[in-house]
Symmetry: C3
Subunit: 356 residues, 3 copies
């Protein structure tokens, strides 16, 4: 049984196949309007995320299926202390596929180990959000026809932005990609991402705190929000904050084919004056998310007919030391077994990927 | 693209057409059970309103369509600070039509200006609630076969009751209608409604603080709730409160064909002892609401195929002065442009209709 | 019009018929995939219960119907003070059948008296939860082929556990059933259940505070949670608490055919180490709940075509004395008429069954 916990669970070939399906759905929506007839998607959202939840629900409805679920933990059995494992087992008797959002890192993985149906990670704390990355990849593909040799700028909060880390990991598997990292020094991309992802894959990259410096070279500009509360030095924040707000004057030097992206919701870091610019693609990103979720549901339901259980634990070892990450699902789940995997000689928790 | 923000957006002919469709749906429900197959309604309720939300959802399901949405702001992206305009653009990539309830006046109008799909105002603060008025109109039509020459009493809180103001505006377009305004002096119909709607249209009207005085002349009695907290003089409230509670003894002198209406939910202003009286039509009103919402969804989805954009802004002017109404959507929406329209030489905000 | 308020509303023959339908659905799900096409279930959950709500919604969707509803009182009209009776009348104009969960005892009964469509009690406070009992009965039937002559142990909180009381009432109608009541003395089965249900029906029973004592005789072990806050003597709780936690070592002496049940959610009273034991049937119980709810919806929608109104009030008398149970719906419902029925010379409230 395949689930999707992290975007790199899928091979480049599988992602290409998803993109192909998504584009075909876009072209011939009527051909897919009964593909999932009689199937039920459970949207288990332990924290609210309207856009992602409605995207999944739309995807299933457009495929002719139906939806059950909840939109916050307060209206779920979690408020009665139920474990994620039990929730997954219960929902397996109701639905055909699960999309789970959870505030605990690794919760969708625990669900996938206990469910008899495929589980899609719809965001687990600061850990992964693979369907956002699938949306990002389709958007870039629709604009540029591929990923090789693109120059992709990431701007804003590169330290905590999981969508940024995840998209960089996905792009690292293509050739000739150049990464431009634009951020204040407080919010730089973490060293372990540079070391384990960028340098290991041989991507070329530069770091800058100037949004304008490499603007004319970018094929893609991926904007994220810079939040004041991330800064220790408030004067530094005051000095910098406006430089990371994208306004029409800042893209004057950019290529006419550049693609401006943003995971949304935005607050003010992206002026609405950009919206009518042909380079603004953040609403196309939303549509891409729906299309890729449709393709993903089709793929996983198809593979669910195959009784073989995928085993992410095959290369894992039972751990006597508990994971120390307070956001990890292992801190709350009943009677959970701790596992680690070895990465470059270090031990990482199998649930949240934190170093043990 | 047509949307429905205010009931007077529709001509008398269009309302007659909706009534005709609604009655046909009532007579032949099976003929409409697949009319909206494959279509998705998004119910975006930024404040809870179970009856209205479930009425819309039932309407869409009975037409063979499906529904996505949320039932309160806390489970929406609004809690992350997303603008109404962005929400409308995002949902346009998911759904085929939107029903929006919002605590800010003008929010559904902002949505309609940004969506690529029709938007129905399902209530925006104290401003408009056009589908309630459509329900009221169908109920009166079902009981009396038309609107001309009816005597319609409105009882209770005529000052703040937006359903009252809206139904009066709708009735003002028919001929020979007489209005009886029954309320304590604290809760009288506002002067601007009397001046701009009733007197301008040449409706005849009387004002009274007695529920009994004109009872024997009424064809319709529209009840609303009188809330204690609206009174400055608590003694006055104590003296008056029971006189606006409808009990069987108060309708002894009424016509046997009189229609008793109430927008619901009631608390105690309408005794349950009235429920079995053949004149009690407030639950018929609920059914009328469902039927008119079905007719409305059919109409707007049909007109959505027409690519022409309706432009309520055509006669509006960009305003340098901001709207002062604290409940207006312009006080919170990101980078919004202020517009006014001229009404009898006064400038009114295009979003909330307040005088600037 | 039939509704389901209490499991004993149904005769043994009717329950057998439901079991037969449920087993046929399990065997031939595709034959039922359009049984309720065009029908709408309203899930009115005035308090959250994800498992039960999603079970009902799944049941309706698997029958080809659709669902409207709400998942907590805060997003319902109840927060505006609407009565249960009015809610039932309103929803009757939208849906074809109601499943209602309410914190007030008797609320679903009030709904059934006012709705024009069947009402299923999905749990009303500490009063009844008949579809849980239907799930329990099907599970036992699937494991043992019937109910006669079974030895059924109930362990844990037998004082407050409404699922326990209800299942005992249901089993009391079969012959040769032996009941083993396993609990600390603080949480013993109430005397009125022993007297009115067990002794009246001639069931044989024993009481013990030892989980092990009768383990080797049990055909069914029904576990429930022992909550510390139920004990006045905390030392007593400390002494006892682990003895009611089911772990693999405690079922060593049990029959290999024993069925372990639990209404879920569990916290820690049932070790996850039991889950892989072939006797563990609590997730089968969840599936049984879905199947029985499907059978129930089919039955009630079929009987709804019969215009005769079932009248639980036929043998009731109007009461001048009000029910004193603070959890009873009569304490909050607008203008409700109080009724009692006579049981063994005592007067009981018709709504919550409490002695008046």
């Amino acid at each position: 049984m395949r689930s999707l916990i992290d975007v790199v669970d899928f091979s480049v070939e599988e992602i290409n196949e998803l993109i192909k399906t998504a584009l075909d759905i876009q072209k011939n929506p009527d051909m897919y309007s009964e593909t999932c007839k009689g199937k039920i998607l459970a949207t288990l959202f332990f924290e609210p995320s309207t856009r992602t939840r409605l995207s999944f629900e739309t995807a299933m409805l457009r495929l002719g299926g139906s939806v059950i679920g909840f939109s916050s933990a307060s209206s779920s059995s979690a408020s009665k202390g139920e474990s994620v494992a039990d929730t997954a087992k219960v929902i397996s008797t109701y639905a055909d596929i699960i999309a789970m959002r959870h505030y605990k890192e690794g919760a969708p993985f625990v669900a996938s180990q206990n469910a008899n149906i495929p589980v899609i990670n719809a965001g687990d704390g600061g850990h992964c959000h693979p369907t956002q990355t699938l949306a990002d990849l389709l958007t870039i593909y629709r604009r540029h026809g591929g990923f090789d040799n693109l120059t992709v700028g990431f701007c804003g909060d590169l330290k905590f932005g999981r969508t940024v880390h995840s998209l960089i990991s996905a792009l690292a598997r293509y050739s000739g990609v150049k990464i431009v990292l634009i951020s204040p020094k407080e919010l730089k991309l973490p060293d372990y991402v540079i070391k384990n992802v960028i340098e290991k894959s041989g991507l070329s990259y530069v770091e800058t705190d100037s949004l304008e410096e490499y603007m004319n070279q970018l094929d893609v500009l991926y904007m994220t929000r810079v939040q004041g509360e991330r800064f220790e030095d408030k004067l530094e924040y005051e000095r910098l904050k406006d430089s990371y707000i994208l306004t029409p004057d800042k893209i004057v030097s950019a290529k006419s084919s550049m693609t401006i992206m943003h995971p949304l919701p935005r607050v003010n870091e992206l002026s609405v004056k950009i919206d009518t610019d042909s380079r603004a693609c953040y609403f196309m990103q939303v549509e891409s998310g729906k299309l890729m979720r449709m393709a993903l549901i089709i793929k996983l339901l198809k593979e669910a007919k195959n009784p073989e259980k995928e085993d992410r634990l095959a290369t894992a070892n039972e751990s006597v030391i508990k994971c120390k990450n307070p956001a990890c699902i292992t801190t709350t789940e009943q009677e959970i077994i701790h596992y680690y995997k070895s990465v470059d000689g270090e031990r990482h928790c199998i649930y949240c990927d934190a170093k043990i």
